[in-house]
């Protein structure tokens, strides 16, 4: 852990990306620079300012809750690296 709590190994684990030690070193340096750059937002006074999560305030309409055709199974599977009997094949669920 360093200044700003930047811990590349932990972030990589959260993001599910295996990093080589060289990449860890490089990304650690890059992220330090990026965090230094984005820190300028912290100087802005945002007391009583509501956050914006979506600029399209006028849209966001829900469509009627009607049953529609979904993607056919074959289409959903057509890009799977491994499949069998209409299912995706995966290694056992578990960490490490």
């Amino acid at each position: 852990m360093k200044k700003d709590g930047l811990d590349i190994k932990y972030l990589a684990q959260l993001a599910q990306i295996h990093l080589s030690s060289q990449e860890e070193k490089q990304l650690d340096k890059d992220l330090q620079n990026i965090l230094h750059f984005i820190a300028i937002i912290r100087r802005v006074n945002t007391k009583e300012v509501e956050p914006t999560f979506q600029v399209a305030k006028d849209v966001q309409m829900s469509r009627p809750d009607q049953k529609e055709k979904s993607l056919p199974r074959e289409a959903a599977l057509q890009n799977a690296p491994q499949q069998k009997n209409g299912y995706f094949i995966s290694k056992p669920i578990g960490w490490k």
Partner: protein, 470 residues
Amino acid sequence: MKSLCQLPLLELRKKLGAKKLSPQELWAECQKAIAEKDGKIHAFLTHILQLQLPAEWQKTELKGIPFAVKDNLSTANLLTTAGSQILKGYRPPYTATVVERLQKAGGVILGKTNCDAFAFGASGENSGYGPTHNPYDLSRVPGGSSSGSAAAVAAGMAVFALGTDTGGSIRQPAAFCGVVGLKPTYGRCSRWGLIAMGSSFDVPGPLTRTVADAAFLLGLMAGYDKRDATSSQTPVENYLAALNGSSVRGLRVGLVEEFFQHGLQPEIKKAVMRVADVLANNGAKLVRVHLPHLEEALAVYYVLVPAEISSNMARYDGIRFGWQSKRGKTAAAVTAFSRAEGFEMEVKRRILTGTYVLSAGYYDAYYLQASRVRTLVIRDFQELFNKVDVLLGPTTPTTAFKLGEKTADPVAMYLSDIFTVPANVAGLPAISLPFGRDQKNLPIGVQLIGNRFQEGEILRVAHFLENYAC
């Protein structure tokens, strides 16, 4: 003499309609241009050889005109990699709405164009398939992330192309390659089938040879799509008709002071001032205005977009589609190795940045704070648009830079987005118009930003300016 595919879309459409040209001839011209030029430019990742003309193409709007599609827009059963190795060999089961609409209007896909992996970048150098080169100077970048789309149009390999713009990815390459690039209002064009980057920022749009071509295409692409809950029901205007008799008399044009302070290349500043003079000489009123949170807007972008990216990229698990690693004994390990092997460095960089700003302990200080500053940027623009009709400024701080010049410094690369990002933060429409060249003969782009859903207005002004743009 200009080759056929260097002519504006609307001119070709007229020739095709009058039977002075056949779609086969036009297709062959594009193929010839690709064969001659793309070995050096590398605009296309997938290139289609056989023309499949739509039935009754004579009755369609686009009459069989070929167009190029950025590779982060899904095309059914046609390779779609988004410029990333993790999607090598991926064939989507469906087509993006904007592409489908152009196909229904009689357009024919010529190929898929190179881009920064998942559209993360401003130079094209983050592509997992090697960079695209700028047709004006092969040692320079074409801009990004819609690199191949801009280069294909500039080099006369495609009549027009589709791109996507999350922080400038249509306008910046358009500026670097000397073509027109239109970023519509967020919600104006459906995002369905656009491989998600920053979902509250992304928008597809056209790259064209002329403003009228962009206006015509926007009319075909825009409009509500029930498959994208953020697509707007605001009626689609006849953008092309609105160009007729363009006058700028009485138009209030805002010149943002802050746009002239950020290491702006003198020749670009001169071009923008020349545009301002043209407008003023024709009866427009110039107003000096401020965008007090310009630098913060860029920082907001580089907090919120990586946050949205880290969430959007979670779908690449190495199991359902995309690259699967041979390593790992559990599903989670396979995922972590697949992402390690399939993602390019910039993709990893942005996912980790996003993961950081969303993680417990930093969420409030970064993600939430950035979302609040976003509100302030939107307010800044709202106030500006009470005083002016359009904003005028540069598209980029410099003209096209050299390949490799900024790859070692991600923050320097991010800074090249400073003039384009604010429109995305606020969801506004903007257009980049080529306006002269610098001393190295590289194209200069000037930018017009409009209020929400005022595409008609910026297109009208850009169309007026086009006549002065030599």
